[in-house]
């Protein structure tokens, strides 16, 4: 199967602490923070959106891997916070990275897992010989309605993966998806903020799909979850991945490297992919990685990945941890300004 030949990440610089959001709404900050397992979240600036994040992550992927942009035959951007409802982000990325015009492109939407679906699509196209290299991006500037539980977790960030056969840094040994019609989180056409089904999002939604996809994949390849060196789950908060690891019998240590939500919030389409990137930043050749994404609505894509010795030459710059560390705190007022939640301002 096709492998990962390059990857890159981008996380906006602004951070808001859970404590600051809690202050505004009179919530108990310590309880919220420990309940969600989130300390702070990344916030896109007024001039950032899922397209600019996708471009920055893609540029980091291409520059770090040395992939020739002309070889990219497909660009797929997964996002639930598109700058245009109609008009692809993928064409913006294609032009900005120099992959256009001889390429196919589209935006994918599947809540938080559209990016990993892009990876699967690229794998199919590469393996079939349709394209030499595919670029799959997961990028979001997730929006929570003010004073909604999501406001504490909805973050901004993204990751880009180059899929191909030429000297992969990691082999994708297999992938398995589990998908059903489960409305746990949605945003209706023209609605500004998503709605969610509260505690319904846990058992019948996140856990059922994540665990089913993981178990399906493990059964298919004849492995146990704890056989992997690193495990990355979709991370809507800091707690769900820990619970998923426990249920699958994965040592708690093994999810730490790929768990970024406590420091940057849930980056939606970017979340599992940023987690995988953080693992690749430190993984050793022959390390094995289990990745399970989750998108509300609902579905999970599971991947069994094996790192090669090429990783040493093509680790992405800047690293996820460098991006996490480069931050500037803003208060709620500046958060409202940058995320354009002040309706009285007009256009």
């Amino acid at each position: 199967m096709a492998g990962i030949i390059g990857y890159g990440v981008f996380i906006p610089r602004f951070r808001i602490k859970v404590e600051e959001i809690a202050r505004v709404w009179g919530k108990d900050a310590a309880r919220v923070s420990s309940g969600l397992g989130i300390k702070e979240k990344a916030v896109a600036a007024f001039d950032e959106d899922s397209a600019t994040i996708a471009v920055e992550a893609s540029r980091n992927a291409i520059e770090s891997s040395g992939v020739n942009p002309d070889d990219i035959g497909a660009v797929f951007v997964g996002s639930e916070s598109k700058p245009y409802a109609v008009k692809p982000t993928a064409t913006i990325v294609g032009d900005a990275v120099g992959a256009s015009p001889v390429m196919t492109a589209a935006d994918f939407e599947f809540a938080c897992k559209a990016g990993t679906t892009g990876i699967q699509t690229c794998m199919g196209m590469v393996d079939s010989g349709m394209i030499k290299v595919g670029l799959a991006v997961g990028s979001d500037t997730a929006q929570g309605r003010p004073n909604d539980a999501l406001e504490f977790s909805a973050g901004s960030g993204g990751a880009a993966f180059l899929i191909g056969n030429d000297k992969p840094i990691a082999l994708i040994e297999d992938t398995y998806s589990f998908t059903t019609d489960t409305p746990d989180f949605w945003r209706r056409q023209h609605a500004e903020f998503p709605r969610h089904a509260g505690r319904f999002t846990a058992e019948p939604a996140y856990f059922r799909h994540v665990l089913s996809a993981a178990e399906g994949l493990l059964k298919k390849i004849g492995k146990k979850a704890n056989d992997f060196d690193h495990v990355v789950f979709h991370q809507p908060n800091g707690k769900f991945p820990q619970a998923a690891a426990k249920k699958l019998g994965v040592d708690a240590e093994k999810i730490k490297t790929g768990l970024l939500t406590p420091m940057i919030g849930n980056t939606y389409s970017g979340a599992a992919m940023v987690g995988l990137a953080a693992v690749l930043d430190v993984a050793k050749p022959n390390d094995e990685v289990l990745v399970v994404s989750y998108g509300s609505g609902a579905g999970s894509d599971a991947f069994s990945i094996k790192v090669t010795k090429e990783i040493e030459k093509k680790r992405s710059k800047p690293s996820v941890q460098e991006l996490v560390a480069e931050k500037e705190y803003i208060d709620y007022a500046l958060y409202v300004k940058h995320r354009q939640k002040l309706k009285a301002l007009g256009d």
């Binding site: 001039d47 397209a51 471009v55 700058p83 032009d95 900005a96």
Partner: protein, 133 residues
Amino acid sequence: MRDALPLIWRKIPERYTLLGSHCNNCKTDYFPQRTICPHCRSKGKLVDKQMPREGKVYSFTEVHSGPAGFQHETPYFLAIIELPNKVKVLSQLVDSSKDKVKVGAPVKMVFRRIFADGAEGVIAYGFKFKVVN
């Protein structure tokens, strides 16, 4: 200036990737692109050339009173960036804390929204710069 759709579209290679011009006759680089080399005129031979994406702050100002379309972004830094090939570029400086914005500070190109034609119109994307350590 709103509704500048053809103009925004036409400049995408320059705005997205800092594509400039190079005169094969006098070996000078230009950004933005030129049709005629101002030094060589009819003898000039202009070709496309990618500009370097890193440079230094040559001059800067913090804008507190922005024009329509930018009025809600204040205060913001506007700078002239000098690239290693001596080409100068005017750009907003973003993601750069006040104490790091200095003449001579090293900067690199980033990809950002430049402006949008209201809530329903087209979005212009392009280069901005940020101070790097």
